[in-house]
Amino acid sequence: MRWIAVVVALAGLSAAGAFVAFVPSATEPGYRFELVWGETGSGPGELDGPIGIALLGNEVFVSDSGNHRIQVFDREGRFLRSFGSEGDAPGQLGRPMHIDARDGKLYVAEYLNDRIQVFSPDGESLSIVGSSGSAPGQFDAPAGVAVDAEGGLYVADFYNQRIQIVSADGDFLQQIGVTGDKGIAAGRFNYPTDVALLPNGDVVAADAYNDRVQVLDSNGSFVRKWGGPFALNIAGGFNGWFRTATGVAVDQDGNVFVADFFNHRIQKFTADGRFLVAFGEQGTARGQLDRPSDAVVDDDGRVYVVDFGNDRIQVFSRRHEAPD
């Protein structure tokens, strides 16, 4: 009987060790609800399945995917204008997904039109990059886009199971992942949905259905990954684990915010993947989330969250007290 007790004790210790190793604790104060706007509909300021969000100047741009348009708000959530309508002509949109903004331009990944469309803040279509297909420079349901200082585009090419890097003119530069072939190994993807850039130029990718985040350098070389034990597609609700990581954002300090879709929360990590804190829980009340799809962080550290299931935007700001 004694050996049984020893085995049980060892098993308990192993489980505790694994828990400590794979379930980190919060190491910084959390976030508190500050502001909410939007409701279900198609009128001005109303949203239907919003996906992406970006900041440009003092304005907040939201991809109102169900309504095939971009809506623009001020930072307090007041509706300013919208642009785009369903279609594939320049200026029209086909399921706008994640978006990015840089140097006075808005970049929109269009899921149905297989392109990245570049807009002025007022909604003038400036250029279109990409076409349908799986060849270099082509896309099959681009879900997310990030833009570097030279205007180079990093595109989460969803059905092609890859991240593509193309020039501002659309010339193919680099591919990460194997075209059309999902995988679990480092540098492979299982339906990537979003990308963001770290201050050093590394690429952060939401490897959505691998339930992880991957970081790759601008040459496409794998740097690191995280999300559950060994980042091997083990989904869960613990700190640092994901249930479909659909959106990524980077703040000015290089921290990474991940929209943890089916855990109904946002998780915050350092650039090297160390868990910092998580916030949000499932629900419809203020401060609660229903399948958040994306986030963006302003210079004051406020986090604007796309509350997909609730058809609204919520803003959270940092607490200053110690974590629970």
Binding site: M97, A141, Y159, Y191, T244
Partner: protein, 176 residues
């Protein structure tokens, strides 16, 4: 068992590629697993949009249902629908269709005969079918809605699918 039946139905539907049997299919309702994510739902929408004859697509993310309507005077190409669903990474669980044709007896079984094809859709013998038949006068055109199901192998013959008629409308009063 349920999954294998659904898979069998899908295979049978796929085997009917290019068959004009679907030329009279007006609308389709399909239950699809895994639609809770918008990236999935819009991906499915993207694939379905490419199918000839599809006019309107409604994907209900919360209950995993896809609804299709045909373009006016066009057919939904169901032979392309199932591969499109598969290509998008999903599996259909239930397929309900609305089709137009005339009801007749072939090989001692009630079938829906549709113009432009020798392939008939076998109608399962149930109370709704009995009611439909009792109200018919001659070979009137009817619109029937019901779930598509596989027949047991020994009953296949030339009619691999059955429709369990759930409701019907008699469209014409004159005998053709």
């Amino acid at each position: 068992m349920r999954n294998s039946m659904a898979t069998a139905v899908l295979l049978l539907l796929s085997s009917l590629a290019a068959s004009p049997v679907w030329s009279q299919v007006e609308s389709v309702k399909m239950r699809v697993d895994g639609l809770a994510c918008p990236f999935c739902a819009y991906g499915l929408e993207k694939r379905i949009t490419e199918i000839p004859g599809v006019s309107k697509i409604v994907i209900r993310v919360d209950d995993g249902v896809m609804l299709l309507e045909a373009k006016k005077d066009e057919a939904i190409a169901l032979d392309q629908l199932v591969p499109a669903v598969n290509k998008a990474g999903f599996t259909a669980r239930e397929i309900t269709a609305t089709a137009v044709g005339s009801v007749a007896i072939v090989d001692d079984r009630w079938v829906l005969k549709m113009s432009g094809t020798d392939t008939d859709l076998v109608l399962e013998d149930n109370a709704t079918l009995k009611k439909l038949v009792s109200e018919l006068h001659g070979s009137q055109r009817v619109r029937v809605t019901g779930q598509l199901e596989e027949q047991s192998p020994e009953r296949h013959h030339a009619h691999p699918l059955t429709m369990r008629v759930e409701r019907f409308d008699i469209l014409s009063s004159k005998t053709e």
